[in-house]
Every structure is written in C-alpha cells, then in structure tokens.
C-alpha cells in the first residue's frame, strides 16, 4: 500500500475540489483551508519525492491497470523521473503561494469557495500532466487543465468579457488539442505504444520520412495551443480577464508551460525529424520577438505581462527546437518564479488601485506601494536577464544554444532588447511620476497574505539561478558558456532600458503611437475577418439548409402532407350509411371480379 502513496500528491487536490464542491460551498473559510492544505500536502509530497532516492534517478511507482485492448495499453501510472519530480515540486509550490495570495486577493468575493475548488481542480489536473506516464493519460489531464483554465478565466462570468475570453481560450485550445490527439494516434500507430517509458526504446523501429514529421508537428500543435504560440497565441492576452492569481498561476507560471513540458517529454520523437525541430525552433524564435514588440504598445498592466509571457515561453520552445532540454527546463523554472512574481505584483497594484489596470491611470505608485515596486523591479531585472538574477542564468544557457544559429540568436536577443524596453516602460509609467487617477491616489499595500508569496518569489527570483536545477534533472550543465552570445544578449538587454528611460521618464501619456503594435499585428482581426466570418457564413448556410430543407421541407413537409391527405380524405366520410354500403358493395364486387379473373387464368 505504501508504494501507492505518491498518488496522494496527485489526488489530494482532487479530493479538496470534490469536498468543496459537494459540501463546503457555503463555508468559504473551510473551503479555503481545505484547498490550501491539500495544496500544501501536495507540495510537501512533491518535495519528499524530489529528494527521495538519488537525484536524477527514477522512482518506480506501481501503475494501476486502466485501458487495455488490442494493441493499446495505457495504465494509469505515475512517471517519477527527475523531470517530473522537479516540475511537480514547482507546480505545487507556485500553486501553494498563489493559494496564499488568493486568500487575501479574493477576501471580499462572495464566490471564493468556487474559486478555490476550481483552483484545486487545476492543481490536480496540472499534476496529472506532469506525472502522467503515457500520452493517453497526459491528454486526459491536458483536457482537464483546459477545463479548469476555462472555469477560472470565466470565474467572474457575469462580466461579458470574461465569458468571451473563457470561450476563446477553450475554443482556441480545441484546435491545438485536435493536433495533439492526432499526434498521439500517430505515435501509437507508428511506434505501437503510448507509454513515455517505452517510447525511447521503440523508436529504433521508426519508419522515418514524412509520417514522423507529421506526428511531431501534431504533438507540437498541442503545445501551440496550450503554450499559446503562434498562430494559436490569441487566447492568452484575453485570458487576463480572469482573477490575477489565476493569470499568475495558470497563464504565466505553470499551465502555459505545460506545452513546453510535453515537448520535452516527447523530444525523442521530435528529434527523428529535422523538419519538426526546425519548425519548433523557428516558431519559438519568431515568437520571442513578436509579442515583445506588441507589449511595447499595450496599456493594460496584465496584458503587457501576458505578452511578455508569450515571449518567454517562446524562448523555451526555441530551446526545445534546438534540442537542448536542460536550458528549456531551467528557464521554465526561473520563469515560473519571476513571472509569477510579476503577476502577483500586478495583482497587488490592481488590488491597491481599486481595479485600475491601465498603466496610464496609475503613476506614483512607487511611493504608495514601495514593497510592490521593489518586487516588480526585482521581477523585471530577472525577466530581462540581468546578472546575477535568476533569468540571467537560464537565458544565458538558451542563448548559448543558439550560438550556431545566428539568425535565431539575433531574433531572440533583439526580443530581449524590447523586453527590457517595455518592462522599464511599465515601471516608469505605473510606479513613477504622480498619480493620474483617483484609484492610484489612494493606492495602498495589501495584507500579509499578499505580501508573503511575493516575498518568497522575490527571493527565488534573485537567488533562483543558484538552485541546482541541472542536478535535479540529473543532467550535466549543457551551458558551455559562449562568450559572444552572453555579451551581445546582455548589452542588448541593457540597451533596451535606455530608450525606455528617456521616452517614459516624465511621460503622462504615451508619446509613441504605433498602430500595428497597438493592434497586435491584427491577428485577431484577421481571424475575425477570415476565419470567423467564413465560419459564420458556413454556419448561416447550414442553418438555412436545416431551416428550409430539413425542418421546412422534410419535417414540417411530411406533417403538412399527412394533414392535407387527411383533409382530402375526410370529405369521403359523408356520414350516409347507404353510400358506405354502396362503396362496400362495389369493393366486394371488384374483389370478386379480380378473384374470378385470376382464377380463370
């Protein structure tokens, strides 16, 4: 029985979600305690697992038989390799901090029981992805994560924008998931197994060719959806309609990096095809720069961070595309720290300013919210990769990996320039100057439950670079430091601060106005015009067909026919018994005639 105890790490949050949903809805205090304690339990369990056995080894956990039929075997098991243990610890740890933060952030919300139930459901689903030992189980949890993301974005479903954003996230993810499931089916048909443990050994029998490429791209499609990479990135900025702790946990630190995690999991398959790897690297490379450009002209504090998230995840995707998983995972971990921190700080700002999200309506927050300002600064330095903060170490390893791909190196380093630019813009506009709205004038720091998680994350953002992530993963540090990438990227990152400083130091409204960036490269408009309009046309056509042909002609038509026939035939019923008798006689006679006639023949 003791061998099954690691399942607790996975099942505690589910248990919490169920208990809250079934019994604790009217008692927010108990709901919060149950949810947070379950998360704490998960975190402690993950920590124990992380340090159990030798670092870098795989802990064997018995699997529970689940699906088994001709050719497909998918047990419900946990894969406790170093990667999973690190990721599980990260997910449950960040989730725990966000739980604590949410206690203060949603203190006034009457529906916070529901919030915590959904949060627990999310933790359960995310742990499921992390610990899944085969692609089928992973897909199951993948969808559960999609569901909890939908629920949490739409937590304030009485706001139309939140409902729309939740739908958008869900629908866009469907597209990615469709590719993912095709990829899984492809893996099954090509390699005969969906188990992540057995996959590497069965790859030897790979047929190669376009099929492998297609499978790899299918799996990557799942990553495109969940990790919000081009062309499926449009849902992430909109998902900022959810409560800020959700943005922090799901849409910055953990859920959106599930795509990267999945790519790392299936890397042996991806590596079979150069086309796949090149595609991944270039999608990642391009996506480091594009969102960074867009973020320079956004005004919503959370959206700026959301675009920065897109950009940072793209670094990880690019690293995977270059075949270096260590730096990808390293950056994933560091990013979780500082991006979660930045979002929590943004939440603190929004909370303190009474729901103001536009940075141009803030200003002067540095004096009123000094702690938040400091942690935002720390997060920014870490994000921009300034040494010796956490982001520097991980980004440096990624840049080193691009050393032999100058184009990718250039694109991603320029992205670093713009990242520095828009982050300093955010800080100067929101925290510098003087207040530009009533909310900002009365801004104040939040309670201890808001401060504490930020403090922890700030420490991790500063010192995270010294965590032995590589030894947790059991890999040798791949970052043979390449000096030119280090220096070029660092100079570019620092250079980004300069124009931002001079443009936004005293600005009270944005002196720059670049429509194409404000319009986010018009991807949404393109989708609306081309895809949605065509879909609507198709829908209208189908509706017309259904309305006129199916409903009008076939369904209602047959009814009308029967009724008209009845109308006609009932004229025959004249009520005259002698007419009936006559008809009867005529009928009998014709029957007789017919019988006699055929009898003669």
């Amino acid at each position: 029985m003791i061998a099954y105890s690691p399942y607790l790490v996975l099942l505690l949050p589910l248990f919490a979600a169920l208990v809250i949903r079934l019994f604790l809805h009217p008692f927010p205090r108990f709901a919060i305690s149950v949810s947070t304690l379950a998360c704490l339990g998960s975190f402690i369990g993950s920590l124990l697992l992380l340090f159990s056995g030798a670092l870098g080894s795989t802990v064997a956990i018995p699997a529970i038989p689940w699906i088994e039929f001709a050719g497909l075997k998918a047990d419900f098991g946990l894969l406790m390799d170093p990667l999973a243990r690190l990721m599980a610890t990260l997910v449950s740890g960040i989730a725990l901090l966000v739980h604590i933060y949410s206690i203060g952030y949603l203190k006034e919300d009457p529906h916070r029981s529901r919030f915590f139930a959904e949060l627990s459901l999310f933790v359960f689903s995310m742990m499921g992805i992390v610990l899944a030992d085969n692609l089928v189980t992973m897909f199951l949890f993948w969808e559960l994560v999609g569901l909890s993301s939908y629920l949490l974005i739409g937590f304030w479903f009485d706001r139309p924008a939140a409902g729309a954003a939740a739908n958008k996230a869900f629908l866009v993810n469907r597209i990615g998931d469709f590719g993912f499931i095709l990829g899984i089916l492809g893996v099954w048909s090509l390699f005969g197994t969906v188990s992540l443990v057995d996959l590497p050994s069965s790859l030897a029998a790979s047929p190669g060719g376009w099929a492998v490429t297609a499978v790899g791209l299918g799996l990557f499609c799942g990553c495109l959806g969940k990790s919000a990479q081009f062309p499926l990135h449009v849902w992430l900025p909109d998902s900022m309609e959810g409560p800020t702790p959700v943005s922090s946990l799901l849409h910055a630190a953990t859920m959106v990096v599930a795509g990267v995690y999945m790519l790392i999991r299936v890397l042996p398959i991806l590596e079979l095809s150069t086309v796949t790897m090149t595609t991944i690297a270039w999608v990642g490379g391009a996506m480091t720069l594009l969102p960074a450009l867009i973020a320079c002209q956004q005004n919503d504090i959370k959206r700026i961070l959301a675009y920065s998230t897109l950009s940072e995840i793209a670094y990880m995707v690019m690293a995977v595309g270059l075949g270096v998983t260590g730096p990808a995972m390293y950056h994933l971990t560091m990013h979780a720290f500082f991006k979660c921190l930045l979002f929590l700080a943004a939440g603190s700002v929004i909370h303190g300013c009474h729901e103001v999200q536009d940075i141009w309506k803030m200003g002067g927050l540095g004096k009123r919210m000094p702690f938040t300002a400091i942690v935002t600064g720390i997060g920014t330095l870490a994000l921009c990769g300034i040494p010796p903060l956490s982001g520097f170490w991980s980004k440096d390893e990624i840049f080193a990996a691009t050393a032999h791909h100058p184009a990718l190196a250039l694109v991603s380093m320029v992205a670093g320039f713009f990242t520095s630019f828009f982050m300093l813009r955010l800080i100067l506009v929101a925290f510098g100057g003087s207040p530009r709205s009533e909310g900002a004038r009365h801004a104040h720091e939040g309670s201890a439950s808001l401060i504490f998680p930020m403090l922890i994350l700030a420490i991790l953002s500063v010192a995270g670079g010294f965590l032995p992530v590589n030894s947790f993963l059991g890999v040798a540090p791949e970052g043979t430091h390449v000096s030119w990438t280090l220096w070029v990227s660092l100079v570019l990152a620092l250079a980004g601060f300069v124009p931002a400083f001079f443009i936004y130091r005293v600005a009270t409204r944005d002196p720059l106005s670049i429509p194409i960036l404000q319009g986010k490269f018009y991807v949404d408009e393109f989708y609306n015009r081309v895809l949605v309009a065509n879909q609507d046309g198709l829908g209208k056509l189908a509706d017309a067909f259904e309305g006129w042909v199916v409903r009008g002609f076939l369904v209602r038509g047959s009814g009308v026919m029967a009724r008209a026939a009845g109308q006609g035939l009932r004229l025959v019923q004249c009520g005259q018994v002698q007419v009936y008798a006559t008809v009867f006689i005529l009928g009998a006679l014709s029957l007789l005639w017919w019988i006699l006639k055929s009898g003669v023949r």
């Binding site: 019923q573 009520g575 005259q576 018994v577 002698q578 008798a581 006559t582 006689i585």
Partner: protein
C-alpha cells in the same frame, strides 16, 4: 328444360333475391325497410346454401344455414332496438338523416 327444377333455378332465384335486397339496402330511405332488405340478403344466401346442400347431398351447408338464421335473429333484435332508440331521439327513420358522425 322439361319443367324440372334444377340447382340453377335455385341459384338464379337466390341471386335475384340478393340483388333485390341490395337494391333495398342501398336505395330505400326508411331504415326499417333497409333492415328488411338485409333479411332478404341473408335469406338469399340461405336459399343458395340449402339448395346446394340438397343437390350435392351433403349436410354441411344446412348446418351453416342454422348459424345464419341465428345471427339474423340476433341482428334483427339488436338492429330494431337501435332503430327504436334512434327514433326516440330523431323522430324519424330516414337513413339520410343519420349523419351526425360525419365531419
């Protein structure tokens, strides 16, 4: 054709009776006469049955006739009872007035 009565004669007579009955049923207005015509129909059939039984020397058709007579008696009793009941309501026995179940 030496004045001898054959089965054919009986059957012709039976057919004639049947046709007269039919005409009565279809053409007469009074329901009482219609019912009498119905009796005529039954008796035409009876005549044919008896004649066939006699000329073929088999008893079976005659047995059938007894059934027909029984049924005819029951029919007359029931029909007359209904007729009386209708007459009490409608004050008429004309068949063309009995059309209240029509659409």
């Amino acid at each position: 054709m030496g004045g001898e009565i054959t089965l054919g004669h009986y059957l012709v007579l039976s057919g004639a009776l049947f046709l007269i009955g039919l005409a009565g049923v279809v053409l007469r207005r009074s329901l009482l006469v219609v019912m009498m015509s119905l009796e005529l129909l039954l008796n035409a059939a009876n005549l044919a049955l008896v004649a066939v039984g006699r000329f073929q020397g088999i008893p079976d058709p005659q047995v059938a006739v007894f059934f027909v007579i029984t049924v005819a008696a029951a029919e007359a009793a029931l029909g007359l009872a209904i007729l009386v009941a209708i007459f009490r309501i409608k004050k008429t026995t004309a068949a063309d007035q009995m059309a209240s179940l029509r659409f």
